[in-house]
Symmetry: C2
Subunit: 506 residues, 2 copies
């Protein structure tokens, strides 16, 4: 038995020992205590074991947030299995890629995703069985059967440093890469969030972000680690979120633009009175509006990614407005030049990070792992600078990783460009991100048509949406006679950004 391990199962046991009857989770009005949760987890763990799942095996889930998903996270942690949460907003082809890449033994399918799972299942050789959530699991086995065991799973030895969850992120070339995180990665990352936000048993997190994202998963586990309550929403609805905050006296909330703005529109200050901390990315206008409505709460600025176990920096927005905050504990951060030399304060370079919150590597991708982790530092692919007081100022993506962040999702221009180039009327295209008040960034395509062709903007946008995830559809499509070239004859993407970096279709 590894004497120095402390795992998520130890958190569940701890909560059940210290406060067995306190609420751990609220889902659709149903309250689950810490003791109930431990019972659900150990029964489900026994059910998974009966299906042949052992340490290191993957169990995938394709679902909106659900109580069963929270149980699954716990049960996989309990037996050392590897969680493979699939982003339901991806296209069928992308979901197929993620499942083939992760090679799960079991696939758990949410209510709306049976058709796509049924289509994909036959082509997944690793898959032994699919289970369906909800009352009507057909054509799959009901997930509920997995809880139906003679005895809950006994206490077992799990390596806290082994892989626990694979989160697929956008990747150069359009193929998602699976960031593998250990239980130790998450527990350490969460401990510093608890410290920075001063979280405890009295805190109540409202989980409106999907649990297949690192931020949604991480904040849920953080509140649980602090002994607090998680109110989980199946999906985001602004009016319901406002009601939920008032009903459950929510103190903690993580959002991506435009969620917070929408909640503020649907709520009264009175309804939001219990809020203490909101983390995320948002516009100064929305943050000011939030501060005016919730004078006792703070907006916290952050920077992070799946590869860093979520948030890596965190500070109150007002401490240094528009910065990304200061490094959380357990992270050594620096900004380096193209040759990995540390840059002095104030100079922009690639953000690099080391310490126990850095992911274990990309699943099935040794080359990408070696490249990202070269020289003993994780290379985030993001640009930034540190000021004299240690605040990080985000400065966009490194050229090799020029991605667009829209509504909390990462989109690679290369992928959207490939989709548009498949259109018979398009000769060349550059896709860029442009500022967007609602989604942080929006996607804009700058196209050169083939001789004689004249597709409409809507036609190009819909053509993209027919191939890849809907959130990758360009909001703006503009047509130009030619694209600027660099001295070496390559398309000058920087010049395209300068000329077309506005949020408009001109």
């Amino acid at each position: 038995m590894a004497l120095d391990d402390f795992t998520l199962a130890d958190v569940y046991r701890r909560n059940a020992a210290l406060a067995p009857r306190r609420t751990a989770f609220v889902f659709e009005g149903r309250h689950i205590s810490h003791l109930d949760y431990l019972g659900r987890v150990t029964r489900l763990a026994a059910g998974l074991a009966r299906e042949g799942v052992t340490a290191g095996d993957r169990v995938a889930i394709l679902s909106q947030n659900a109580l069963e998903m929270v149980d699954l996270i716990g049960a996989e942690a309990y037996i050392g299995a590897v969680l493979l949460p699939v982003n339901v907003r991806l296209s069928a082809e992308e979901i197929g890629f993620v499942l083939a890449d992760g090679a799960p033994l079991l696939l758990i399918v949410g209510r709306d995703y049976q058709p796509i799972a049924q289509t994909l299942a036959p082509s997944l050789p690793s898959l032994r069985r699919c289970f369906g959530l909800g009352a009507d699991a057909a054509p799959f086995q009901p997930f509920g059967e997995l809880y139906d065991v003679d005895d809950p799973a006994p206490r077992q030895d799990v390596d806290a440093d082994a892989g626990f969850v694979i989160i697929h992120t956008a990747a150069v070339g359009g193929r998602p890469r699976g960031a593998l995180l250990s239980q130790r990665n998450l527990l350490i990352a969460q401990s510093s969030l608890i410290q920075a936000l001063g979280l405890g048993e009295a805190d109540v997190n409202l989980g409106v972000l999907p649990l297949f994202h690192i931020t949604g998963l991480g904040l849920m586990l953080t509140a649980q680690q602090a002994g607090g309550v998680n109110v989980i929403a199946a999906k985001f609805d602004a009016a319901e979120a406002a009601r939920g905050i008032a009903a459950e006296q929510v103190t903690l909330l993580a959002t991506f633009a435009p969620m917070l703005g929408a909640i503020l529109e649907h709520a009264s200050g009175d309804q939001l009175r219990s809020l203490r901390a909101v983390t995320g990315l948002d516009t100064p206008q929305t943050i000011e509006c939030f501060e005016a409505m919730c004078p006792n709460a703070r907006f916290w600025s952050t920077y992070g990614q799946s590869e860093t176990s979520g948030l890596a920096t965190l500070s109150p927005y007002r401490e240094r407005p528009k910065s990304a905050g200061r490094p959380l504990f357990w992270r050594s951060m620096a900004v380096v030049d193209a040759d990995d030399r540390p840059l002095p304060e104030g100079e922009v370079g690639e953000i690099v990070l080391r310490g126990p919150t850095v992911f274990k590597g990309y699943w099935n991708n040794k080359a990408a792992t070696a490249h990202a982790l070269r020289g003993g530092w994780h290379h985030t692919g993001d640009l930034g600078r540190f000021d004299a007081d240690g605040y990080l100022w985000y400065a966009g993506r490194a050229p090799e990783k020029d991605l667009i962040k829209t509504g909390g999702e990462n989109v690679y221009p290369a992928e959207v460009e490939a989709a548009i180039r498949a259109h018979p009327g398009v000769a060349e295209v550059v896709v860029i991100g442009v500022p967007d008040p609602q989604w942080s960034e929006a996607i804009k395509a700058v196209c050169v048509c083939r001789d004689g062709a004249s597709p409409s903007a809507a036609e190009i946008a819909d053509f993209v949406a027919g191939q890849i995830a809907r959130f990758k559809r360009p909001k703006y499509v503009v047509f130009v006679a030619s694209l600027p070239l660099t001295a070496t004859g390559a398309i000058d993407r920087a010049a395209v950004k300068v000329a077309h970096g506005e949020a408009s279709s001109d």
Copy 2:
């Protein structure tokens, strides 16, 4: 380079980057900033390296608290050396044992300890050199020379999981055992203290406990890890402590009885107004007096030992008066019977613990390590029970480890008994701990004299003090005609305790 490491040097760099000019340490009125401290540490690290000290080598210090000791802790951490802090209150023979056991390359000697170091040094084959603290280091090299380097030590790779400090604790049979702790042990332990006490940059710790004890060392490192200030006292003086609290606006204080009571006697409530948290062991009377004088501060109850990286449980005293508090995060704790079977709530057994705060093992003592860490749990040798809400109730020492805790020091009865048995007038003796309002426990010797002999109580007490550390001198010595025996003919220690467990010489 170990990507996932985070070490004490990363804490020093972090503090120097985030708040270079803020005060890190105050010693005898002198203020050292975080940037100054990093400079002192990296210069001293280079000085140690010049003396041939590399990762894993031991450097010992025999001194009261001093600024140079704080630097040494940092410099040893920076190069991965192993700190061997020697309890100055031990007898010359015991100090000799600790030094021979730890086999240091260098020995740093405080002002009052040159004579003893000079006597011991020739018999320590590992020792290359001694350095003396203070203006008059003779007969040793001045410690200050070690800071006098051309360049500070460069950033280097240190294994956070390797041994970093050896703390010798009392041991069965009277030979101290060295508990080896890693930097990771300490950093993890400290992170949960920061979380539980809600510490941050604004906190100021008054270090009146010796830094050669885990509690003094741990609290100092905890405040530093939180980005706060450490006011270090060379030694405890109640009036000076009260003045220091007022002058430096101290918020955090760790004490052992009778320190807090003495501070309260020497202070006004106004002087202590800045205090927020005091941890330790004390009498209900002293705690009540403290609460009355400092209504905004809390007394925190704890249980811990060197082998658990210090505090393992911690709760506000008022939450459950006289309990030892609830387990801190990162610790799995249980109470087991003699066959290591977990006992139900309410039943008394040996306190066992696992997780990343458990020590690496006893230095040079594989047998003791294997015994303590059997079955994947650290066996503390202490008895206790958990109540329904997860509070630990301390219930004395396990019979095999029947030690006395007096004024923050651990004393083994077996050692004191051996010293008394050497007296020609004593036939048999049992040494026990008895409640003491000033020192938590006091030492009481129950003696059977040899025929015709009639030594006085003072004679026996002084005889002990002539052989081993003064704090092991019995406060009470009583004489009996015979000692009670068990059914098997052994001395019935439990019966002795029942008959003589009072704090008096009758």
